[in-house]
């Protein structure tokens, strides 16, 4: 277990009251998922029951309890993207990566997520690779995008 990393993350929040989601964001970013042993340690350190941490990890889309890939590919299926063919983009990604939504490729390179609106609606269909938004996607373009990583 990487105790120091958790200690460091906790120390960034002067008050733990109300900052549980913020702390979990940092852990998710650090480990690319929420590892159980680290969460148990966190629970003891900040005196928040494990049940509450678990329910939050489950409720919010951002958090994952299983390891995720090096890159996170979010395909937007908001209304604008749906109307403009986001589903075709998603199908292409599934075919190329051979995984379904919320799954990770065997080589741990990509995790596929579906989101409802990235707020880039006049660029629909849009996808987000890690923190970067890519616009006016087509099945061919998303194929190229995946290849470039």
């Amino acid at each position: 277990m990487e105790k120091e990393k958790i200690d460091h993350i906790i120390s960034k929040f002067p008050e733990t009251k109300g900052n549980l989601i913020g702390i979990l964001h940092e852990i998710q970013n650090e480990f690319r998922y929420l590892p159980e042993e680290e969460l148990r340690y966190l629970s003891r350190e900040i005196e928040v029951p494990m049940t509450q941490i678990y329910s939050i990890a489950n409720f919010y889309n951002r958090f994952s309890l299983t390891p995720t890939g090096e890159h996170e590919l979010c395909v937007c299926l908001g209304t604008a993207c749906h109307v403009k063919g986001g589903q075709n983009v998603l199908n292409q990604v599934k075919k190329d990566l051979k995984i379904n939504e919320e799954e990770t490729t065997e080589d741990m390179k990509f995790t596929l997520k579906v989101v409802r609106c990235l707020g880039a609606c006049s660029l629909a269909p849009a996808v987000m690779m890690d923190d970067e938004t890519h616009s006016n996607m087509t099945p061919d373009l998303v194929k190229e995008l995946i290849k470039s990583f």
Partner: protein
């Protein structure tokens, strides 16, 4: 520097004016989420390299987004003695020519879209500009009333001085030095401002009640959990003019007697998070947040909290649960947040767009504000027009503007010679209005009359190729995913509706399944705990009623009109 008095504010204003109207040439590049997605970063670097190579002095700035992301990357070029000119879809390949032209004091031609404020700049007539319209006459800006978005895409969003030069912080200065908190509330009540997040509750009324709630600690929450699919107006304000939002938040705090504000930001807005955090630090340095704001003695701290990617957390009570580090479950009301909100303290929750109206109201007065809009709905509304139209984007219009005009004139109507089949106003909860009924005023009252709503202002245009069953299926999947699961009518009712819709979509159900959907919908609508379950049935029930043909096609032939 900290701004401590009127003299300081004037000094900052002067710096801002010099930066907005420089003596030498200037280029501004739009670099928010959408601009970056289309390569604004490369553009910025290329211009930097090119101007250094050519040894020409050009001041280079960043701006936010003007709401028309498909025209990005945009650039504003200002030459001495000429009005500012807006260029759209600028590419790295254009840069060398632009720099060459600027060096020769010539107006670059490629991508030239319109002039900005042609009458305000002391411009020498230039024959090149004869055919170039001012932005007020150039579609898609034509017909808009951009009092909230006006600065977006024009000023450097992280420059306090440029915002001050655009009359920024004059409202807050006036309030802190010349008005008592109750006078601020009086102006907001007088203005008739109502909540832009979708509920349209009178803002002044909410503030008045919160100011009268007892408690030594109160909170101002800015709801920036912009989750309605299709909405990005709040992101555009936050990335295009963050200080206007901060000014509105501090005014709210002063009005109700709160010293602590929180922006609850949508998880998916990664770029916005870093950007706003930076803007808060800058505001602190200028004495516009923190202790002794503008030298008035008033203290107000502001911080940002990121959500976890949950739609229901945009509902104000679920949002407060989330801020307390819990799962976002809507709470039973009463007690209302104004009495017992965050950490059981009196709290107001206002949307980004609502709060951004407040500086304008204080600066110009409630009387001025209430001249804009309809009898019951005052001011402007930012619409996010998406789907099958020529110019998707953000349109800020006075409330009461005609829907038909927005779709066909401002947004340019359908593409590829197709016709509009239906328009959903107030997506995702609004109903689909058939093409022959689009002659309606865009305000909460008129839309309610025809069974629809304005919501947060998302307008989805569908052309003849769209199938309502397909869209409703898509919407139901969204509602089911985002239901928090606390109450039965939403958790079970909406899920069953989705199951039935899938059966209908695949041609495995009969017409009587429609009756069951109707019955489930009515129950969810009437008995759900919050607006998610209560609102979800509206587009479904109306869709079944108004677009029977689409349903019949699926039920009888198992085929979607979309693919036939």
């Amino acid at each position: 520097m900290k701004i401590k008095n009127m003299k300081d504010l004037d000094k900052v204003k002067e710096i801002g004016m010099k930066s907005l109207f420089p003596k030498g040439p200037q280029i501004r590049i739009s670099m928010s989420t959408c601009g970056l997605a289309l390569g604004a970063d490369d553009l910025f670097q290329k211009i930097t390299r090119e101007k250094d190579k050519k040894g020409i002095k050009i001041s280079l700035h960043q701006t936010g987004c003007s709401g028309f992301c498909n025209l990005e990357p945009m650039a504003i070029v200002k030459l001495p003695g000429k009005p500012a000119l807006l260029y759209t879809q600028v590419t790295v390949e254009n840069v060398e020519q632009i720099i060459r032209d600027i060096k020769k004091k010539k107006i670059p031609q490629k991508g030239l879209f319109c002039m900005i404020g042609s009458d305000s700049a002391a411009a020498k007539p230039d024959p090149v500009l004869n055919a170039v319209p001012d932005y007020r006459d150039a579609s898609p800006f034509k017909g808009q009333h951009r009092m909230l978005l006006g600065n977006c895409g024009i000023i450097d969003p992280l420059s306090v001085s440029e915002y001050v030069a655009m009359a920024g912080y004059s409202g807050l200065f006036k309030a802190l030095y010349q008005m008592r908190p109750e006078e601020v509330i009086k102006e907001v009540v007088e203005s008739g401002l109502r909540g832009r997040g979708g509920a349209w509750f009178p803002t002044g009324f909410k503030w008045d009640m919160a100011s009268k709630s007892s408690g030594d600690e109160k909170f101002v929450i800015c709801n920036a959990d912009e989750g309605d699919p299709g909405a990005y107006k709040d992101r555009t304000i936050m990335e295009g003019n963050p200080f206007k939002l901060f000014e509105g938040i501090v005014l709210a705090g002063y009005a109700i007697g709160s010293h602590h504000g929180i922006i609850y930001l949508r998880e998916e807005y990664h770029h916005t998070f870093g950007f706003l955090s930076n803007a808060i630090e800058i505001a602190k340095r200028f004495g516009l947040l923190g202790k002794n704001i503008l030298g008035s003695g008033f203290n107000f701290a502001l911080n940002i909290v990121r959500g976890g990617g949950s739609y229901v957390c945009g509902e104000e009570t679920a949002l407060m649960d989330s801020l307390e580090g819990e799962v976002g479950d809507p709470r039973l009301r009463p007690p209302f947040p104004i009495e017992k909100g965050l950490w059981a303290r009196p709290t107001i929750v206002n949307n980004v767009e609502t709060l951004s109206n407040v500086p304008l109201i204080i600066q110009n007065g409630g009387k001025w504000y209430k001249n804009i809009g309809t009898e019951k709905a005052k001011g402007t509304k930012i619409l996010s027009v998406i789907g099958n139209v020529k110019h998707p984007g953000l349109y800020e219009i006075p409330l009461g503007t005609n829907l038909k005009q927005v779709i066909f004139e401002m947004a340019g109507g359908p593409v590829n010679g197709k016709s509009i089949k239906a328009v959903q106003v107030g997506s995702p909860f609004g109903t689909f209005i058939p093409a022959d009924k689009l002659n309606v005023s865009l305000d909460p009252e008129s839309l309610r009359e025809i069974g629809s709503m304005i919501g947060s202002g998302v307008i989805v245009a569908l052309d003849q190729d769209a199938c309502i069953v397909d869209i409703l299926h898509h919407l139901l999947t969204f509602f089911v995913e985002e239901s928090c699961g606390k109450c039965v009518p939403c958790r079970e009712g909406v899920s069953r509706m989705e199951e039935l819709m899938i059966e209908i979509y695949n041609g495995r159900a009969g017409m009587n399944e429609l009756d069951i959907i109707n019955e489930l919908g009515e129950t969810a609508r009437d008995f759900s705990l919050c607006a998610l379950g209560g609102g979800a049935p509206a587009p479904i029930l109306n869709g079944i009623k108004d677009f029977k043909k689409d349903f019949e096609a699926h039920i009888k032939t198992g085929k979607c009109l979309r693919f036939s």
